[in-house]
């Protein structure tokens, strides 16, 4: 049995999601190798080699991998699969984009968003916005999975695997990078943060969203998230969206401010350890899952919370 993990990285280092997917691969069993496909990604390959339990790191370097183009990843990964029984991608936008291409080329039915591994061929995943948990057994010879990083505990950085260069497919590919707008992160990454502060439609404007959430996020060392309504209205960028069709988060502390708690939002945060809700409507569904509910106007309550956190030495 050999399992390939496709690393999530920024060329310089690997994201915490990679360590979590390695943990999922270890649960399947057998040898675990990590693929770093990047552009000048020596740093990321070296970082992947430190993950405990990794046999070796395959490092492919080429310009199309700077943008993680799905066509290039398919061309790289499909031939490598001759040596592997399973390939695991993080359920990130990159993983979700590329994995099904690989699966289709291998004639395998992919299993998306795996949250638990019951056996090397049996997996659990949420469906219907997390309102049901599906357990499936795959009859395909090879497995292609995307894994919910939040559901697995990160493998430690105590390993020392070898890095092996693999040739990057030359192309040309039928898609090409044009441009991107990737904001520099000033705060912890949303999906990896220990604390998350999220705002909803109640915030009413982009200025208000930032004015209210930033001081609280700063105080707590938290990442900032948002509901779909806040993103659609332009209060927050698209990559802040938490939920069924946004990001899955599971921090130790999740603070929902002016968010009603639609099932699509809950799908993305209900596995948080402690949930706090601030909402002026005491009937808001978010209170049904919140560990601590504070009923009232956020304009009054958030400043009070900041003050109390200060008094408590946070």
């Amino acid at each position: 049995m050999a399992v390939l993990v496709v690393a999530e990285h920024d060329n310089a280092s690997v994201k915490d999601a990679t360590n979590k997917v390695v943990a999922a691969a270890a649960a399947i069993g057998g040898d675990v190798d990590v693929l770093v496909a990047g552009s000048n990604a020596g740093g990321a390959a070296a970082a992947a080699a430190k993950i405990a339990g990794v046999r070796k790191v395959l490092h492919a370097d080429g310009a199309p991998f700077a943008a993680q183009l799905a066509e290039a990843l398919e061309a790289l990964i499909v031939p490598l699969m001759a040596n592997y029984d399973a390939v695991l991608f993080p359920a990130s936008t990159t993983g979700k984009n590329a994995a099904p291409r690989v699966a289709a080329k291998l004639d395998v039915m992919q299993i998306s968003g795996v949250s638990a591994i019951e056996a090397p061929d049996t997996f659990v995943r949420p469906i219907y916005a997390g309102n049901a948990m599906l357990t499936v057994k795959s009859k395909d010879a090879k497995k292609v999975l995307t894994v919910l990083p939040t559901a697995f505990k990160a493998a430690a950085d105590t390993g020392s695997a070898q890095v092996e260069a693999v040739a990057a497919p030359a192309g040309p590919f039928k898609s090409a990078f044009v441009s991107d707008e990737i904001a520099a992160l000033e705060r912890p990454e949303l999906t990896a943060a220990k604390r998350v502060v999220s705002g909803g439609r109640a915030l009413g404007s982009s200025e208000e969203f930032h004015r209210v959430l930033e001081p609280l996020a700063d105080k707590l060392g938290a990442a900032i998230g948002a509901s779909r309504a806040a993103v659609d209205a332009g209060y927050a960028p698209n990559d802040f969206q938490v939920g069924q069709t946004g990001k899955m988060v599971a921090p130790e502390l999740y603070v929902a401010i002016g968010i009603s708690g639609a099932i699509q939002h809950l799908a993305g945060m209900k596995d948080s350890k402690v949930i706090v809700a601030i909402n002026k409507d005491e009937e808001a569904p978010i209170f049904q899952i919140a560990d601590f509910g504070l009923v009232g106007d956020y304009r009054v309550l958030v400043p009070q919370l900041l003050e109390e956190l200060g008094k408590a030495g946070v």
């Binding site: 099904p100 960028p237 005491e282």
Partner: protein, 254 residues
């Protein structure tokens, strides 16, 4: 340019999901079914390409074909697409779950016959939450893909597509024909007007079977069980911010 828009009939997103007592699946009996919301966005974008709007010049699309794979009742979903502005429909009749890989194979067979310039799918079906079909179809056709689109600019033999990605936005250029999957911010889908709903009744729907298309749709995954998620107990309502901070301290999260 011909555009194909696959539309899936799913449990309406407003409804509460009930897991069946015997663990075999989710209860869909007598429940309201609707078009997958991401597919409404896909139909809307195609219609704008035909009529003009959303940055597209009129006539960018010449014909829009809505395709659904599902039971007879999926015709209702096709009628919704036709009422929004699609020109004709294709129903591939199949009972029970058809997995994304099989859906992609059926769609490939239809693309081989219809030769569209663009296929616009939803980024994800809100029932199975797979987010696979578009990418699989792209691989089977050896076409480029632009998933999670929030903007599409047609540009001759190419399309520039802005994608919603984890760090923000990414724009890529894809050669046509291509596969695009829609994200929430691409557009706001219209409601079909009554006259258009009436007109849609006269638009043609072609009915096929997987056998007609030469595709084996038998599932690759065996359902072991479908269960309720772990239930989260509601906690307490606190009266003041001070009480909240004390609670968070006691819980060890600050």
């Amino acid at each position: 340019m011909k555009i194909i828009v696959p539309v899936k009939r799913v449990l309406d997103y407003n409804l509460k999901v009930r897991v069946k007592g015997d663990g075999s699946g989710v209860d869909l009996a007598n429940m309201k079914m609707s078009m997958n919301p991401f597919d409404e966005i896909a139909v809307e974008e195609a219609v704008r390409m035909k009529e003009g709007g959303g940055g597209h010049s009129p006539g960018s699309a010449t014909e829009i074909i809505a395709v659904s794979i599902g039971p007879d009742q999926a015709q209702e979903t096709l009628r919704t697409a036709l009422a929004m502005g699609a020109d004709r429909g294709i129903l591939v009749k199949a009972e029970g779950e058809v997995e994304p890989l099989a859906v992609a194979k059926l769609l490939k067979a239809i693309c081989d016959a219809e030769k569209p310039g663009l296929v616009i799918l939803g980024k994800q079906a809100i029932d199975d939450d797979s987010s696979q079909t578009g990418q699989m179809l792209a691989a089977l056709l050896d076409w480029p893909q632009a998933t999670f689109a929030s903007k599409i600019a047609l540009n001759g033999a190419k399309a520039n597509v802005t994608r919603e990605v984890d760090g923000g936005l990414q724009t890529i250029a894809v050669d046509l024909p291509a596969i695009v999957t829609t994200d929430l911010r691409l557009n706001e889908p219209r409601y079909a007007s009554l006259p258009n709903i009436m007109k849609a009744k006269k638009k043609p729907i072609d009915v096929k079977t997987p056998a007609d298309l030469g595709v084996d749709v038998s599932p690759r995954l065996a359902v072991v069980k479908v269960a309720d998620p772990p239930k989260r107990k509601g906690g307490v309502k606190v009266k003041t911010a001070a009480e909240l901070v004390a609670g968070l301290k006691a819980a060890g999260v600050i």
